[in-house]
Amino acid sequence: MDMATRSSLIDYAALVKPDRVHARVYTDPDIFEDELERIWYREWVFVGHESEVPNVGDYRTGHLGKQPILITRGRDMQVRVLLNRCTHRGNTLCQARSGNAPTFTCSYHGWTYSCEGDLQGVLFREDFPPDFRREDHGLYRVPRVEMYRGFIFASLAKTGKSLQEHLGPAAANIDRFCDLSPSGEITMNHGVYRMRIECNWKMWTENSVDSYHVYQTHGSNVYLANMFEAKADKPPPPPGKGYFGLIHARDLGNGHSDLDMRPQRRVTGMTYTGEWSGDIPESAQRAYLDGLEKLHGKAKAEQILTEGPAHTVIFPNLFNMLQEIRWCVPVSVNETYIYYAPCLFKGAPDEINIARLRRDEGAYGPAGFQLSDDIEVWARNYQGLQAREVEWILMNRGIHQPVGRDEDGIPYQSDLSELTMRSQWRHYLELMSSP
């Protein structure tokens, strides 16, 4: 049965309701195939950061949906996303995770491509028909590739919304992440956590803006923190949600959303430097602040520090928060690869960048005090859906509450509403139901 037929059999509106979704959207292999077609092989998808390929000939392999790709930096300094598939008989061209290579030679029959994807060498070219033109057999270039502050997005659709249109107000969240660097630039080439999680990819996307899970999934951290605060005779946070209640859950459109912590930070007076000040020598802090002020001016620098980095999901697969860029790759209906990469500040003192690494290791990655439990909880999320007698997954927290508009005109509810996930599902339904 071909894709069109298969897809037309699924009534997505019956599965995705405003306040709940049907378990089948996470577990049905036909829906997974349909998503590849309608989301992963059509929409803007995050694939990497340009700091991974800083120099001519640098490359990094990966996947766009399930298709193997090659991200390269050409001699024209342009970043391209190519399919990692020889156009002769289909072999993957490049096996390494990353490297530098002026050309790629296929191990089957030796066809050679430039790092721009042009077919350069065909062994015994003379044996091919005269109308065989090398120009027709370059590596498949993903037709649309755009960058925003080094974040590389790719779309397999030949036409469509520009990246800027697609990102909309979410672009500002990327700004907040990068603006914290004294050079305005971050680098994402300091290692990456590669992880496999035993659940559908949408469980990852949802969870990434689910503040409700922090109390329980990450209860061990809360417990340890309280233990230490108790010992330190610090005043405990307000009861209940603590300061979390001040956070805004925002709908940024196109399936994007964030947990906007700025209202909380304004109240608690937390600033970005304050978050690590204990560990960093005075001089490094000073150098960092100087850099920031030089770049942005004093007022703007202070705003940046107060606001801190965003915590935002850009649909379908980018999650940017604290010091990390995170993205997911769908493997099958019940498995997802996730990649979490710490970013360092170009031009910042080493001590600050080291602190970013150490913080990353503490919480995230396969052995992190937070992410390890997320990984387990995702698996339980998928396992539970085998209990198919119960059909629905609830997504109704805060649905009865009014949706406000913040100072940027963005719809929000107070944190701990499931508005963020609902905004993902609304967009999902649109994409999956479009003709």
Binding site: R97, H190, G191, V192, Y193, R194, M195, R196, I197, E198, Q216, T217, G219, S220, N221, Y223, L224, M227, Y337, A341, P342, L344, D350, N353, I354, L357, R358, D360, E361, G362, G365, P366, A367, F369, L371, S372, D373, I375, E376, V377, A379, R380, Q383
Partner: protein
């Protein structure tokens, strides 16, 4: 050689056993104050000031790692606890500066979870640095080079 080979081996086996049997407080007690428990990420040898590690624990963070499991009851990856069993083999022992004993060994650790059908296998090479201490040793440094540290992996919540 300045070391007692049998004593060194038995220390490594004891460390393995305490970790396997999730006697984590006893396991933690093996460590010295200047502990570094290091599991590099992506490659075996990296510069930890510029590259990410999977674990890069000093004594304080290691204490938290253990307490999270033993004290909070909310480290879901270890609720219920994994069953663990590891083989430690190919032990090579060297003298190390400052009176330490350095060992390299290979391991194969099987982890079985009650809510998983199949076990997870952790395989790699370990460098230990032991400090002689009252007829026994203290563990000053442990670096674990996981064979799959650049592959998509599941969570690592046991002491590898």
């Amino acid at each position: 050689m300045a070391f007692d080979r049998y004593a060194v081996e038995q220390f490594l086996y004891r460390e393995a056993r305490l970790a396997d049997e999730q006697r984590l407080d006893d396991w933690f007690a093996l460590w010295d104050e200047d502990a570094l428990y290091w599991v590099p990420c992506n490659e075996y040898d990296i510069d930890p000031t510029r590259q990410l590690s999977i674990i890069y624990d000093d004594h304080a963070r290691l204490r938290l790692r253990v307490a999270r499991i033993t004290e909070t009851g909310m480290a879901w990856t270890q609720e219920p606890r994994s069953r663990l069993r590891r083989l430690v083999s190919n032990i090579e022992i060297y003298d190390h500066p400052d009176g330490l004993v350095q060992t390299f060994s290979n391991f194969h650790l099987t982890e079985l979870r009650v809510n998983r059908r199949d076990p997870v296998e952790w395989i790699g090479r370990t460098e230990h640095r032991l400090r002689p201490h009252g007829g026994d040793f203290k563990l000053a440094y442990k670096k674990v080079m996981l064979i799959n540290n650049d592959h998509e992996m599941t969570q690592l919540s046991c002491m590898v």
